[in-house]
Structure formats: C-alpha cells, structure tokens
C-alpha cells in the first residue's frame, strides 16, 4: 500500500471520529439545517471536479464530464449554504423574557 494512501486512510478515519464527536451534540431542533449545511459541505467534490477539468487537455469527453461535475457541485454548494442560511435566519428565541420553565435547548 503506497504511503499516500495510508496517510489518506488515517485522515479519513480520524475525520470520521471528529465528525461523530462534533455532530452528536447537535440538538434535534437543528437537524434539518445540520443536514442541509453538511450537505453543502459534501459539495466539496466541486474541488475534485475543478482538478479534473483543469487537467483535461485534449480529451473533450473528460472536459465535458468535468464541466458537468463542476456545475453539479456548484448547485450543491451554492444551494446548500443559501438554503441553510435561509432556515437558520428563521430560528428565533422568545422575545419577552418568559417566566417559569425554559426550553431544553
């Protein structure tokens, strides 16, 4: 197994653990924004698409596939972050100070 692959596997596994730690603590209240926000992050494949497209010299088919991948990735990134922002903007606390018991979140 080449060293770079081994390193990448280390990164993959450790990042998974980081993800579990960070995300387990997100309250159910925010699960939809969590999903659409993390969804936008998975649009990071647009970076892979950029690398592929930039390297496509002389092969039109790869160029076309790359451009389609860039477009798809950008839909995911732009749409994902914007829609998450739209949702999070709506989450508001109670205006007047409320007496009695308070919310768990």
């Amino acid at each position: 197994m080449p060293e770079s692959l081994l390193n990448n596997l280390y990164i993959f596994i450790l990042a998974m653990f980081t993800g579990f730690e960070v995300i387990t603590k997100v309250p159910p209240l925010l699960h939809t924004p969590l999903m659409s926000g993390s969804n936008a992050i998975s649009g990071i494949s647009v970076v892979g698409a950029l690398v592929i497209t930039a390297a496509a010299t002389g092969d039109t088919l790869i160029l076309i596939l790359g451009v389609v991948a860039v477009a798809m990735g950008m839909i995911n990134v732009a749409g994902g972050f914007l829609v998450t922002d739209r949702m999070l903007e709506m989450f508001k606390e109670r205006q007047q100070p409320a007496g009695g018991e308070e919310g768990g979140e």
């Binding site: 999903m35 998975s42 477009a71 914007l82």
Partner: protein, 467 residues
C-alpha cells in the same frame, strides 16, 4: 515554501473551518455564523484549487460554475419551507453526481497509453463511482417521491432484496475484475456505472412515506462518503476530511431516525423499510375499534382550548401538507394572550426529514424555546389540559407501547394519551403510513376534529378569540 505547501495549508484551514462551522450548529444562537464559516471554508478551497491549477481551462470551468451557482441559489431562494425535504434531497443528489463524475473522469484519464490504473486508485475510482452513482439516482428517486412526481408508497416486487444484493455484489465483482485484470475495459466500466445507478433506484424505490427521514439521512451520509472517495481518487485531503465529516453526520442522523422508529440500521440498509405488513394490520385494527370515535366541532374544541390551563401541540406531516404552521402559531398566540401555557412536542421522525417540524414552526415565527423534543416533554403530558394532534398519526399511537402484534410495537411515541383531553385534527379516518389503525382515535378522552388542518385551525383561531 512551494505553492503546493501553501495550497495544502489553505486546505487545512478550509477543513478546520468546516469543523468549527459544524460545531457552531450545536446552538441556534451560533448556528447561522457556523454556516457562514463553512461557506467561507468552501470558498477558500475553491479559490486555492483554481490557483493551484493555474486557471487551466478556466472558460469551460467558469461556464459550469456560473450555471451551477445560479441554479443552486435560485432554487434555494425560491423553495418553500414545506418542500425542504425534496430540495435537500435534490442538492444531495447533485453532490453525489459530481463525486461520481470525478471518479469516472479519472478512470477515463488513466486510459491514455502512457498512464496506468494502479490498484489503489482503481479501488477509489470504483468505490467513488458506486457510492456517487447510488447517491445520485437514489436522491432523484427520493426527490420524485417527496415532490409527488411518483407514488410515495413503497414499490416492491418479489425477491427485491435479493436483487439488490446481487446488483451490489455484481458491481463489486466487476469492479474487482476491471481493476486487477482488465483496467482499460471501458465497456465493463460503463456496466459499473449502470449498475450503481440501478442500485440507487432499486434500493430507494421500496421505501415510502414516513420512512423518508431515514432515506434522506442515509443519502446525506452517502454523499459525504462519495466526496471522500473522490478525495482518494484525486488525492486531495480537504475532500477526504469534509466527505468523512458529512458521512459521519449522515450516519448519526440515520441512527437517530432508526431509533425514533425502533428499526435497526441493518433493517434499513437491506431495504425492508416501509414494507412491513401494510394493509393487513389496518384491517384487523379497524374491525376491533369501529364505532367508538367521538367527533367535535371547531366551536367546542375552541372553548376547550380557550379555557385550558396548558396546551401541547403535536405537529406531524399532515401539518406540512396543509401548510397549517402559520395558523397554528396564530392559535398559539391567541391562547397565550388568554394565559394558556403553550408548548410544542416534536417527535424525532415527525415529517419527512430530521427536524422537519422545527423548521416549519420556525418559519411561522414560533420561538424555538417553545419546541420540545420527545424526551423533554413526554413527562409533561400528564399535567396538560389539552393535547392537540395536528396531522401526526403513528408517532402518537399507544399501540406502539403494548400491542406486540402491531408493526409499530416498540417505537417510542409521544405520550399524548396521558393528557386530560385530546383533540385530533385529521382529514378523515384513514390509517397512518404504517397502515395501522390508531388506538388514540378511539380513546375515551379523544375528540376528532375532522377537516383540512389549515381550515380547522383557522376556525379554532376565530372561535377561540370569541370564546
């Protein structure tokens, strides 16, 4: 310092921004800034990549990027909150599609005579194509179901699970063969792409209706894993890190949804979801209970609410369908003005995706500290004057507690039946998604208020004001 080093350090900053951004989603107070942080991380990664590749082929890239950014932002602005599950599903599918295309393009690049497909990049390419392809076609099916373009009911046929297993194994087997024995075989690689897309369809199509939260979460996880696989393909760490963060996130949500439905992850993965005894359970239940339903009109219900000490609203998918969330907030305002204590009880799998009800109620300006998770509110029902169930069904069915023959048995439910009075807003006596008759509707404390949820609630608002 070489530019390669600088670029990698910048990617590291990006990855850190993603982690911090996700961390800030732990509280509604910091969540919005967290999302902005993640977006900045993404912008940084994209700019660095463009610099690193010296803006090669920038014209076609610009075209693709502009089209994608426009399409994404226009739909993000236009989408209604009730349509959020399918929007997220659609974006998800595009992310998976992009990852698959990265893997496919890399395979094609390595076809050139002076390059070879090594075993390790071959494995990444096949996995990237498989996971990305499944994410893409699976998300499109989920979108179609949620959007109502195809039936939301489970579509099943004999030996479906066996077929899915065969498709999956065949993809891996052909992939293995291509990698180790025939790395330039384009035809077989096309077969792999086709099988991946088919598998996404056949594994999503048997899952329906109320089980959608599981599917959406799982596809979310797949899209992350697909991005990570694409990261292995192009040897880029920021892809691997972000992909695995998202993969982990989706898995956690999937697990929470499974626990909320009392189903194992294995049960979901092997395609049994939504096929459990639909119909059969319903007819039995109907026979047992028929004839003991009490109905109430808006007038009577409004008086009950207006003179209640405390009210808990229990929203479900029916509220989303009827777009009743604004009317519900209005009703809550009227009641609060009269001194009634108002809360909302949210079941983890209410709606069509994790947290669906919270978003809808937030849209209607319900303060989030009035929204309570199941575990935080279940003990309060017994001290509550009236529980109002709006378009929720299986998540309030007491049969889940004691009826071992019910498909719902073991599913954690909201203890609505412990409230002093129960008002259920429902269109008709039709059974819930699981096809099971709901015991709650026949409960001596339950009054049914039949009609469209939005109209019923609006009537309640008027009557409660007058009461």
């Amino acid at each position: 310092m070489s530019f390669f080093t600088i670029a990698n350090l910048a990617y590291l900053v990006s990855a850190a921004l993603f982690v911090f951004g996700l961390k800030r989603l732990q509280s509604p107070k910091t969540a919005r800034s967290g999302n902005v942080m993640a977006a900045v991380g993404m912008a940084l990664a994209i700019i660095v990549t463009l610099l690193e590749t010296n803006f090669a082929n920038w014209q076609p890239i610009l075209v693709g990027a502009v089209i994608g950014a426009l399409a994404g932002s226009i739909s993000a602005r236009a989408v209604q909150m009730t349509a959020m599950p399918q929007m997220v599903g659609l974006f998800n599918g595009f992310g998976g599609g992009a990852s698959a295309l990265v893997a496919i393009s890399e395979f094609m690049r390595l076809l050139s005579p002076d390059l070879v497909l090594t075993a390790d990049s071959g494995v990444s390419i096949v996995l990237g194509t498989l996971i990305g392809g499944v994410t893409f076609s699976g998300s499109m099916i989920a979108f179609g179901k949620l959007q109502g373009w195809m039936t939301g009911a489970p579509i099943t046929w004999p030996l479906q699970k066996a077929m899915n297993a065969i498709l999956f194994i065949a993809t891996l087997a052909i992939g293995t063969y291509v990698i180790w024995f025939d790395p330039t075989n384009t035809t077989l690689f096309l077969v792999i792409i086709g099988l991946a897309l088919a598998l996404g369809i056949t594994s999503t199509i048997p899952i329906g209706g109320a089980d959608m939260p599981v599917v959406i979460s799982l596809l979310n996880s797949y899209s992350g894993l697909a991005a990570a696989a694409a990261g292995f393909v192009v040897d880029n760490r920021v892809l691997i890190i972000s992909g695995s963060l998202v993969g982990a996130s989706g898995l956690i949500l999937t697990n929470i949804m499974c626990v909320g439905m009392n189903r194992s992850l294995a049960n979901v993965l092997f395609g049994a979801v939504g096929t459990a005894d639909v119909g059969a359970g319903g007819s039995v239940g109907a026979g047992e209970h028929a004839g003991t339903v009490q109905s109430i009109d808006a007038d009577g219900a409004a008086v009950m609410l207006a003179y209640a000490r405390s009210v808990i609203f229990v929203p479900g998918y029916g509220m989303a369908v009827a777009q009743a969330q604004h009317a519900v907030r209005e009703l809550a305002d009227v009641l609060k003005d009269r001194g009634v204590d108002v809360k909302y009880a949210i079941h983890p799998v209410a709606g069509r995706m994790p947290g669906h009800m919270n978003v809808l109620l937030a849209e209607a300006n319900v303060p989030y500290d009035e929204l309570y998770d199941m575990d935080d509110i279940n003990d309060s029902f017994k001290n509550t004057s009236v529980a109002v169930v709006i378009g929720a069904n299986d998540v309030v069915n007491p049969a889940a507690r004691h009826d071992t023959s019910s498909p719902l048995y073991g599913m954690p439910i909201l203890n609505v039946d412990e409230a002093e009075h129960i008002i259920v807003l429902k269109r008709s006596m039709r059974a819930g998604f699981a096809g099971v008759e709901n015991e709650l509707f026949f409960h001596p404390k339950t009054m049914m208020l039949f009609g469209d949820a939005k109209e019923s609630v609006s009537k309640l608002v008027m009557e409660a004001k007058a009461a």
